[in-house]
Symmetry: C2
DNA sequence: TAAACTACTTTATTTTATAAACCAAATTAT
DNA sequence: ATAATTTGGTTTATAAAATAAAGTAGTTTA
């Protein structure tokens, strides 16, 4: 049995990737609201996905406030595709 | 976003459930070989699925040796169905 | 100008997963 | 006969992950 990419096989990280699949980009606050995650948890998981190169993170100051924007990368998309492939084998779907 | 049943959202437990989906029942040793899990890890995860009522576990002595046999329960099947449903929403599949 | 809020990050705690060690009985080798 | 090895596990300890709590830097509101 193939292994499920442990970086993607986490409730919150999978939710983040899922959200980023359907939008061009998304900011920290929006992801936080959608996932109902705590800011701390979200910060950590975004950092992990970023380190892995699965998402790109841009930090800027917009109207005096910081803003963190995330988008899925090609590498992330590929990894997610592979994850889905393995999952389909597991679940016969 | 709905949450993914944490009891099922674990690599090894999902693999166990996956295997049990396609067979009437399966014994410890066979599951261990298929999943390539260590006996300790497998023992713990089977216990968790059993406690949750997702699988039924039968222990017997067969030809002087112990044998642990597992099978998926109706409750487990339902939980897995729900898990798949949520996952499909996440992944747009 | 002090309190409260925004948008986070860092650190600590809890939970989960995994590995290592152990157990009892059976089998094999000496 | 008995010592070493194997089988089929369980229990306990360690590592990793997830989550929560606390902290930071600056902003807005009262």
């Amino acid at each position: 049995m193939k292994e499920l990419d442990p970086l993607l096989h986490s409730q919150l990280r999978l939710a983040i990737m899922s959200l980023l699949l359907s939008v061009e980009e998304a900011d920290f606050v929006w992801i936080k609201e959608k996932t109902e995650a705590t800011a701390g948890n979200l910060s950590v998981q975004i950092e992990k996905l970023s380190e892995a190169g699965y998402i790109a993170v841009r930090k800027e100051i917009i109207g005096k406030k910081p803003r963190t924007t995330c988008s899925i990368t090609e590498k992330g998309r590929t990894a997610l595709d592979e994850y889905v492939k393995v999952l389909k084998e597991y679940l016969h779907i």
